[in-house]
Structure formats: C-alpha cells, structure tokens
Symmetry: C2
Subunit: 338 residues, 2 copies
C-alpha cells in the first residue's frame, strides 16, 4: 500500500493561527476491507470554516480533534476498490482531509460522490460546483431571494463563494456589488467575474468611509447582502440597507482569532425591518441538487470560470491556509497533491 503524508492538528491557536499548530506525519495506508475504496487525492480544498474548527470553543461545527487529520474536502481518483459501485479511474469528491490518500467506506451514503469532468474541471467540484458554490446558492436563493433589478452585495467577493454568488445573482437580473481586498482583486471582480462594481475594503477601513463607498456603488440602496467577513463591512451594509433587506450570514472571518466583533447598530434591523440569518450549508442537503445543477450549468456555459490559487504539495497546505485567512489567495484556494 502507498505511503501517505498527512497533516494533523497538533495544538490549538492562541489568537492567530500559525504553522506551528499543524504537524506533518507519514503513515502507511491500511489494506482495504470489503466495501472500502482507496482514493488518491488530486486536490485538497482550503476553506475559511476550517479556522473555526481549530478552536475548542462552541462553533457552528464540532471542533477538530487534536492529533487527527485536519478535516477538508478533496477530489481525486479511485485507485483500488472493494465496492461494486466504484472502479479504478473513477473521479470522486469527498471529505478526505489534509492527506494524500484516503480509505473510504463506500457503503456509508454520502461519503463519496462520482463526478463528471466532461464540462467541469475536477478541481471545480471543490469550489464553484462544490460546497462554496452551494453556499452561495443557498444564501442568495433561500435567504436573500432577490427580485430582478434589486441590488445585492457580497464580501470576500473574489473568493470561491463570492465568485459563484455573482454568477448566480447576475443570472437573476440583479445589480451585484462586491467587496474585496486590494485593487487587483477589485479589477478581477469587475472584469472577469462580472460584478457591476467592487469596493476595495483596504481603501475603506472605517465605517464612515465604507458606508460612503457603498452609497456610491449602490445608488438604489442594498436589498440583500451575503456576509463572509463581519465587522465594519456589515455595519456599513446596515446603514445602506433598504427596507426589508435580507442578510445571509455565512462567515465572520474577521472574528476567527477571537477578537470581539460587535454589531454597532442593531436597531437598524428594526428601523429597516430586516432579516439576518446565519446558516451552514451542510444542514440543508435538499439545496444541493438544484444548486449543483445550476452551478454546473453556469460553468458549462462559460458563465462561471473563477480563478484558483493552487499551492503545490501537502506540506504547503498550512502556509496556503493561513495566507487565505489573510486574503492572500486569489479565488478558490486549493492544494494540488499529484
């Protein structure tokens, strides 16, 4: 059986996460039992939610246990199978974790899913046509539910969720305004992703400035917002929100390191009769089939072709992950493992 590099969570962050929180080990993959499948991972997905799991505190998901392989989505190829539904060469998506290989019990439903790469690149099943894409779909369709002509906004606009969000919102006839970090990302948001405008939050670091930028970019106000960041961006959105505006609250990456992140003026939720709703997409499995169908169609039609940031080799995963938390990636952050 092949040797398998793995990255474990070694210890929990105190404040900011660092590479010293992780540990790289090498093991042997165990021989297959009946019903099991050996998958060679081609790509590992790095996602902001993983930072929340590194903490021991109550979060929207169970804490990552110490000394175990970091959780994570993977795409790869079946190399050996003792399950009749899987053959060597099948391309699959699953939650293989931060390692090069995984042994999966294919009899358990939902652990592996075969994917078709005729029209969709394999890596996209970790991004645009995977969990981040479905996350964007759920927030837009089920929570914000915009009408044509309405204005919707999204923070972390050039990330995996944001790039799917804009494609889905444009398909519904919305004005879509992104918020991203730096002129290069903002240019990419408008020129390649299709945003109508993009605000550089590094140029608007306080509430007043961000609110003025939103006012300029959203002359008709904001009807729906998808929040990945929190902090002064969300405060500013509330100041510019229209009556009955909806906020899909998906991430508060600005607070992952434990700093307090108050909402300055929640009375605006009342003044504007707003709805704000937190969600985690794995709790809404009924949304996945329609979301994946629409997202796959947008990719096949060339309407959703976001960039990817690809780190090479498992050992590069911790640095790539920490960089992503600081916004150093450009589009979906992946680690190539082959």
């Amino acid at each position: 059986m092949p040797r398998n590099q793995q990255i474990l969570l070694d210890n929990r962050p105190e404040g900011e996460a660092t590479e010293a929180n992780f540990r790289l080990v090498t093991t042997d993959t165990p021989p297959l039992q009946d019903g099991q499948v050996l998958v060679r991972h081609h790509y590992l997905s790095l996602d902001p939610y993983m930072r929340g799991r590194m903490n021991d505190s109550k979060s929207y998901a169970a804490a990552q246990p110490l000394g175990e392989v970091m959780i994570g989505g993977t795409v790869g190829e079946v190399v050996e199978s003792r399950h009749p539904d899987y053959q060597p060469g099948d391309q699959v998506v699953g939650m293989g974790g931060w390692q090069e290989w995984s042994v999966v019990d294919a009899r358990q439903p939902g652990l592996l899913r075969k994917v078709d790469t005729t029209h969709v690149p394999l890596s996209y099943y970790l991004g645009a046509v995977g969990m981040p894409g479905v996350t964007a779909w759920y927030g837009l369709v089920r929570i914000i539910d915009p009408k044509p002509g309405q204005t919707v906004t999204v923070s972390a606009a050039t990330g995996a969720v944001g790039s799917a969000f804009v494609a889905l919102a444009k398909a519904r006839g919305c004005r879509v305004v992104g918020i991203a970090g730096g002129p290069e990302k903002c240019r990419y948001a408008v020129e390649e992703l299709g945003f109508d405008a993009c605000i550089d939050h590094r140029q608007h670091t306080d509430l007043k400035s961000m609110s003025a930028a939103l006012k300029a970019a959203c002359p008709q106000g904001i009807d729906g917002h998808f929040e990945n960041v929190g902090g002064h961006i969300l405060d500013a959105v509330l100041l510019r929100a229209n009556t009955f505006a909806r906020v899909a609250l998906c991430g508060m990456i600005a607070g992952y390191d434990g700093q307090p992140l108050p909402l300055q003026n929640p009375a605006l939720l009342l003044v504007n009769r707003m709805r704000i709703e937190g969600f985690i997409v794995s709790e809404h499995m009924d949304a996945w089939p329609p979301a994946l169908k629409e997202l796959g169609g947008l990719v096949a039609q060339g309407k959703l072709r976001p960039r990817e940031s690809i780190a090479q080799g498992l050992a590069a995963a911790p640095a790539a992950f920490l960089g992503m938390l600081k916004g150093q990636n450009f589009g979906k952050q992946l680690v190539r493992l082959v």
Copy 2:
C-alpha cells in the same frame, strides 16, 4: 361643537424626552362634513413606538410633525355621524391621537373600526385585542413559530405586548420566561400572567449576570425570543440561544434616547444558525384578523386579563408616557379621557 383639548409635539427631544417637548392646546372641533363622524375618546393608548416618532431621524415610521397632534390609538364612542355606517353610541377604535375628540372621515377605509364590548372591555382594544396584542401574535406566530415544549422568552414581559405574548405562547404549549423590571412585576408575571418564570433585569444589570439568570430559568436553552428592549438583554439571550433560535425584533426601547446600543457578539447568530427579524405590525395587515380573533377568544375565556395603568385626563398623558418609557407603568398604559 365641543371644545377639544389636544397635545402637540412642540419640539424634539435632545437625548431623553421630557414634558417640555409637548404642548397642551384647546381648540374647537370643526362642524361635520358629509361622510364624517365625531368621536369622543374614552381612552388614549400610550405606546413605546411613539418615542421613536418624536425623533427626526430615520426610523421605522415617519417622524411625528412638529406642531401637530401627537399620533396615538384611541377608543371611544360615536357622538354624531354623517356616515350611514356609524350611529351615535357606536363604540369604535381608531388612531385619534392625543386629544379628547376627533373628527374622522369614515369613508376612508381602516380609519375607524366598530368593536363589540360584550366580552372584551373597551380599553382592551388598545392593548390585548389591539395593536400590542397583534404585535405579540405576529412575532410569536409568524417569526418565532415555536413548537410545543420549546422555550420562548420576552423582554418588557408585563407590558401590553408581553402579557399577550405569554397567553399566546402558553396556548401553544411553550415554556415562557419573561424579563421585567422589579420584584413586583416579576411576581405579577408569574402569579397573574402565567409566565413559568420571570427574571428581574434590575437584579441582573450586566451580560454575565443576565446570562446566568437566563440559564437558570431556561434549562433547555432558548428557542425563540421576542425583543422589546435591546442592549444587554439581547446579548444575553444570544448566549443562551439554541440552534435555529429565532428572534422577533420589535423594539429597542433601550436605545430610543440615542445612546449607542451595539450587539456584542453577532457571530453567535452564525454559530447558532439563528434568524433575527425586525418588523412593524402595521405592515402585515393580513395578520390582524386571525390575531384579533385568537386574542379576543383568550380574553373572553379569561385566559388573558392583563392589568392596565390608567392616567386620568389628557394633561396627564406626557408624564404617563415618559414614566412608561422608564418602566414605571404596570401593564398597558392608558389615559382615560372621560
């Protein structure tokens, strides 16, 4: 025509509202035109939303114009009518304002509504079977939507909204915990209104203490909350909220005087996948018929008999109103005008 005492908004509050913001004047009621009805007000309703209207800032309703009669709900009796649907002696509810008499154009739909006082006292149409009752109904039924056995909480528990809320929630099989100011109100909440427990917020003035009190009173956590106050009560509720908890945001009386009222940890909305929704009941007219029907039934059955605080005479209205904002009333605050 009778002489009519009126209270006008004379100037806007700077910070806390005072009696000097109001002015009492006496005018003549004008002669009736075709289609008009002359109503003698028996009771004027005093409600927290009026404080928001005294400000010039954007709020959930238009600002009260200076120099005009203060807005307000009234019940009374038709004294003279030039509209075929109304006869002298009819008992009616309307938005007559802070004055003793009003001349109403009965051809405009929705300005006057005849009420039946066989089983419901006339004044209750300003409280339990009026706007506050419907407000409680909408927040509980349409936003919180609790299941039997779930725990729901409400701030300003012994007010007009809170007392209707507990009757409606008990009818749905909930555990209902109130938050009110002072031991006397808490005793009344449990012994007369039917709350399972009531927390005295004067004994729990910081987040940690309020959170501990909620934990003790809600051993199964909080599934739904009706917010009338804001500030540290809402912060504490978020700390004790269960997964998928809903918050109906109806008032933030703690912030009416303009002081900042941040929400300390909005990330809990994500952690608990919560929904928080602001609303104003006059925008949901479809809710009024089923709500009034249920509320009237509860009153008729003796299951909803809240106390009232009754000030005597129009000139007493400003002091009664300001006292209510400080929680000095006991149950629905009214002014008797006859």
